[in-house]
């Protein structure tokens, strides 16, 4: 009689055991995760992008202490926040930063060694890029601001200092209405800006013509500039030309095609809202100048840039500054501006 035995080979046994081990590992992982309701431990979050805190760099840890004025001392521990817990410090304001490239926030309080009532809290936001830092600085700029002469962008109010330099945006909020406190914070801010002058300049700001430029007038519109939803990432500034204030704007796009599309879009927006094309005084601006309820709008693109003038009272002043800007952009892009716009 034939005896049939069912003997598996060692290889088959080994493979089977390996597969079983994998299955057990999967099961264990699922059980471990399911029984721990703090999902954030495993990177599952419901309120924003995952931003695993990196090991604090010694250099970064020192940045906030550089905001301490002479004659002051720190009176609180340094606080650190990332995009996951920024709301714990600034609550409903957090999305404004996290949606604008926020990376980290360091905070600390300082007090005068000679007068402990003179306290301020410094908030140092790392916004990843100079552009992001300027965006949050510009959008929040107070109407009663007094610009602080310095290498970066900075202003003061009756109790606080605000500035951006490189990728940093900083608020120094005084806990008292004190000129002495504001003076001390100002000096610390200016020193910080000088020591952290960044090479990552914002291209648009370097391209605005310097003559007649109104210092401190630069504004950044992340979206909906001048009421047009297609106008995103627009920088604007003012010029004083023979008593007239002229608003000039500029934006760098990804490509000449995008720049032209933005310019065309804004042109149509103005026309659709009551604007009419008018004859340009300068030939280079032909087809680019519009009358909008007795003000002058100019829109053009050159290379990767979209630029123009908004609601100018005087067409001559508007065209003069527009030509300066357009020629600069043409030189940069190595050619003429787009034929139509």
């Amino acid at each position: 009689m034939t005896t049939i035995t069912n003997k598996t080979k060692p290889t088959e046994t080994a493979i089977s055991l390996f597969i079983l081990a994998i299955l057990l590992l999967i099961a264990w992982t699922i059980i471990a995760i399911q029984y721990d309701y703090d999902m954030t431990k495993f990177g599952f979050i419901t309120d924003g992008p995952i931003d695993t805190p990196k090991k604090q760099q010694p250099a970064e840890a020192q940045f906030i202490s550089k905001l301490m004025p002479k004659g002051f001392k720190n009176i609180s521990r340094q606080e650190s926040y990332n995009s996951q817990n920024l709301y714990e410090k600034i609550n409903g304001k957090a999305p404004f930063y996290t949606e604008t490239g926020f990376k980290s926030l360091k905070c600390q309080r300082f007090a005068s060694s000679s007068d402990e009532n003179l306290i301020f809290e410094a908030y140092l936001f790392d916004m990843s890029t100079a552009r992001n830092a300027f965006a949050v600085y510009s959008v929040q700029k107070r109407a009663d601001a007094t610009d602080i002469p310095c290498d970066g962008f900075s202003y003061k109010t009756d109790n606080s200092i605000y500035f951006c330099t490189g990728r940093f945006y900083c608020e120094m909020v005084g806990f008292a209405l004190s000129p002495v406190l504001v003076k001390a914070m100002t000096e610390a801010a200016v020193d910080f800006i000088s020591a952290n002058r960044s090479d990552t300049q914002i291209e648009e700001l370097e391209l605005f013509p310097k003559e007649n430029f109104v210092s401190g007038s630069v504004k950044f519109y992340p979206s909906d500039a001048f009421g047009y939803d297609g106008f995103k990432d627009i920088f604007s500034c003012h010029y004083e030309i023979q008593g007239e204030t002229v608003t000039v704007f500029l934006s760098k796009r990804e490509s000449p095609t995008q720049a032209k599309q933005m310019a065309d879009g804004y042109f149509k927006f103005v026309i659709n809202n009551g604007g009419t094309v008018k004859k340009a005084q300068k030939e280079i601006l032909n087809g680019k100048v519009m009358d909008f309820y007795d003000t002058t709008e100019i829109i053009f693109s050159a290379g990767n840039f979209t630029g123009g003038v908004h609601e100018a009272q005087d067409q001559t002043a508007a065209e003069n500054i527009a030509v300066l800007l357009l020629e600069k952009l043409n030189k940069l892009s190595g050619g003429d501006s787009n034929a139509k716009r």
Binding site: T5, I90, G92, K93
Partner: protein, 330 residues
């Protein structure tokens, strides 16, 4: 014939296949039984609590008062008196919980938190005229509570007036749900002070808010929520509505003496504030906010949560229909 034969015969193959199929089917059934399509719930199996309704009976023509003036002690006294006096709201022996906005560790003059002078005066009224047995001042700030109560001056003012300051601790939280709510389901709330309370008074400043548009009476009670409440920010109008369905205060005091017009809710510069010199006392949170938004140069339609809360039965946005009582102490 060879003794070892590894080839399967048909019978053995069928048996093995059947066993494998049964194993797969069993695994599938087990998975289906264990599958939780809703995911982990925020709660941890605690019994749900019911938040008491602290509202007082309605009195026609005495639902909302609006007082103009720059001195908070005077305006709050007048505003409450116009609604019948503190005695209408606080009776002898009551335990009163006052819920101010203590959200940030910033000084009072920056307007990001409730003015401590106002809190002290309301505490005094509760004790001296209302005959309260105890007044508790409490909040669950996002920032460190000790810093918030200290630097805002609220802790000192409340204690000096005789109130007990209650800081949040884990054991003070219980889970609650809003009936028909989409967001507040089995969610931790700062319940312990409410469990002790006979009356609940909210006192909050008028502030611009980056997310919701404004932070006033209704949003003030967000500070009684626990857990990772920031996950509700993306549904901010719904969560404010559900908070208004959950917490029904006795009275709200909306301080528009200085309103934060820009850069809310944190502010930071005194220039963010405008002297609007108005204080509102109201038994209707929706009406309070509906008027309050005008101090921020806003309309009711700019704040969707007001209309949503009205639809949910939390109050009336047409505050004019409630015949507000006006006074001017300027």
């Amino acid at each position: 014939m060879p003794k070892d034969n590894n080839n399967l015969d048909r019978r053995r193959f069928i048996i093995r296949t059947a066993k494998a199929g049964a194993a797969i089917a069993a695994a599938g059934v087990a998975s289906a039984m264990l599958y939780d399509k809703d995911g982990p719930a925020p709660g941890d199996g605690k019994k749900l609590v019911t938040v008491p309704d602290f509202s007082v009976p309605e009195r026609q023509g005495q639902t909302i008062s609006i007082v103009k003036g720059s001195e908070r002690v005077k305006t709050v006294n007048r505003a409450i008196d116009l609604l019948g006096g503190i005695e209408r709201f606080v009776q002898k022996g009551d335990t009163v919980v006052i819920k101010p906005n203590v959200a940030f560790a910033t000084p009072a003059f920056l307007g990001a938190t409730t003015n401590p002078q106002l809190i002290a005066e309301v505490v005094r009224l509760c004790y001296c005229r209302g005959g309260a047995k105890q007044v508790i001042v409490t909040d669950n700030p996002i920032n460190d509570p000790v810093s918030c109560f200290t630097i805002s001056g609220i802790g000192k003012a409340a204690t000096a007036a005789g109130a007990k300051v209650m800081l949040p601790e884990g054991k003070f939280f219980e889970n609650a749900s809003v009936k028909d709510g989409k967001l507040i389901k089995d969610w931790p709330i700062f319940y312990d002070p409410l469990a002790k309370a006979d009356k609940l008074i909210g006192i909050s400043p008028v502030k611009d808010h980056e997310r919701s548009g404004a932070s006033m009476s209704m949003k003030n009670f967000y500070g009684l929520m626990g857990g990772r409440r920031n996950i509700f920010h993306q549904h901010i109008h719904t969560i404010i509505t559900e908070i208004s369905m959950l917490f029904k205060p006795t009275l709200v005091i909306l301080d528009g003496t200085k309103s934060m017009m820009h850069n809310g809710p944190t502010g930071g510069a005194v220039s963010d504030l405008r002297d609007t010199n108005t204080l509102i006392a109201s038994c209707d949170v929706v009406a309070a906010d509906a008027f309050g938004c005008s101090l921020l140069d806003m309309k009711v339609s700019d704040l969707p949560y007001i209309t949503m809360a009205e639809k949910a039965g939390c109050g009336i946005s047409d505050y004019e229909s409630l015949k507000p009582i006006m006074a001017n102490l300027s």
